[in-house]
């Protein structure tokens, strides 16, 4: 049975001045994920190793970490795929975020920016008696953005976030995209105005790190590009939206 060296970045703010790497040996067995390896370390070697996890099925987003320099969900990452030539796997917390302890980071700025885009639906005053009607095309356009699990992998991979925590960030812009294009939402114009601020859509440098990092293979960069176009054509877009909204409770015409 092969052994693998797992290097885990450790940092205890009560004791340490700066983070350091601790090494642990574990067996590489069939089907073991990086999260399994961390559990094994915690249960059998060092109970003080601290990390977040919950679902173990790549759906809660809490186990996002940086493995060999790449952000990912460790519950979804087979250990054998990440062993380097020296037989090591290096696990660090998500970069550019303050470390609370070991692999646990402070996500305050992540959630603050998320709140800033008002990620909830703002329905129109005259809500239809039955359900809103949306065409399959409209649903399809939004579906990708719906799959975001808010793990923070894209946010902490973004170089602009690295320099400024005031930037809205790819996660929140993806959600804003969802709301702006949702025909049921009543405030796309205001949303676009907010996104046009100094720390909004035009701050993105199109580096594509968010796409590489997303464990759900979403495309925040494309969403940001779309939002930029809409910000520039705000008036026309708002007019088209208002028209569409009037017909939300009508049957959808098939053309």
């Amino acid at each position: 049975m092969t052994n693998v060296t797992i290097r885990v970045q450790r940092f205890n703010p009560d004791v340490d001045q700066k983070p350091h790497l601790d090494e642990f040996q574990i067996e590489l067995t069939q089907g073991k994920t990086i999260l399994d390896a961390l559990h094994e370390i915690k249960e059998e070697q060092d109970g003080s190793v601290t990390f977040r996890r919950s679902c173990r099925h790549a759906i809660c987003g809490s186990c996002a970490m940086n493995v060999n320099g790449v952000n990912m969900l460790v519950c979804d990452a087979p250990l054998k795929d990440f062993v380097d030539r020296r037989g090591r796997v290096t696990i660090r917390p998500l970069p550019y975020l303050p470390i609370i302890k070991d692999l646990v980071v402070d996500r305050t700025s992540f959630w603050e920016q998320y709140q800033r885009v008002k990620p909830w639906l703002l329905p129109p005053d005259d809500v239809p008696e039955k359900e809103f009607r949306m065409s399959p095309d409209e649903v399809k356009a939004l579906q990708d953005a719906e799959h975001c699990i808010m793990c923070g992998a894209c946010y902490s991979a973004c170089q602009v976030v690295a320099m400024s925590k005031k930037y809205i960030g790819p996660h929140a812009l993806l959600k804003a995209f969802l709301r702006v294009l949702d025909p049921r939402d009543s405030a796309p114009g205001e949303r676009l105005t907010d996104l046009d601020q100094g720390d909004g859509v035009f701050r993105c440098h199109t580096i594509f790190n968010c796409i590489d990092a997303c464990p759900k293979h979403l495309n925040p960069t494309q969403a940001i590009e779309t939002l930029r176009k809409l910000v520039m054509k705000r008036q026309a877009f708002e007019a088209a939206r208002a028209q569409r909204q009037q017909s939300l409770d009508q049957p959808i015409s098939v053309e």
Binding site: M163, S164, F202, R203, M232
Partner: protein, 108 residues
């Protein structure tokens, strides 16, 4: 921010044209860098105008790019106004200096 973003994108498109022309005329066969050729070209006011426009577009593209990267930094965000004015001043000075050089270029 939107205006700066657009300035950078439009200047990038213009740069594509100018740089292609620049590379063809200065570096690729049958042309090559040759002082006599440069002299001959700059005798022509159209080439001088092209060079001045090239200089302008390069400055706009470079300075908007640097501005965007510098203002990314949280610590410098409150100096945004000052950085804008410094960029404009640097751009204007470089443009005047460069234009003078181009205009002064004459065959002996």
């Amino acid at each position: 921010m939107m205006r700066i973003f657009l300035l950078q994108r439009f200047s990038a498109i213009a740069l594509l044209v100018f740089l292609t022309l620049h590379m063809i005329v200065l570096h690729y066969p049958p042309f090559h860098i040759d002082f006599d050729n440069v002299l001959e070209r700059l005798e022509n006011p159209v080439w001088k105008a092209i060079d001045i426009a090239f200089l302008f577009v390069v400055l706009v593209h470079a300075l908007t790019g640097v501005y965007m990267v510098i203002t990314d930094l949280d610590r410098l965000a409150r100096y945004r106004g000052l950085i804008t004015w410094i960029s404009v001043a640097v751009g204007a000075a470089a443009f005047v200096y460069g234009t003078q050089t181009i205009l002064a270029f004459q065959a002996p």
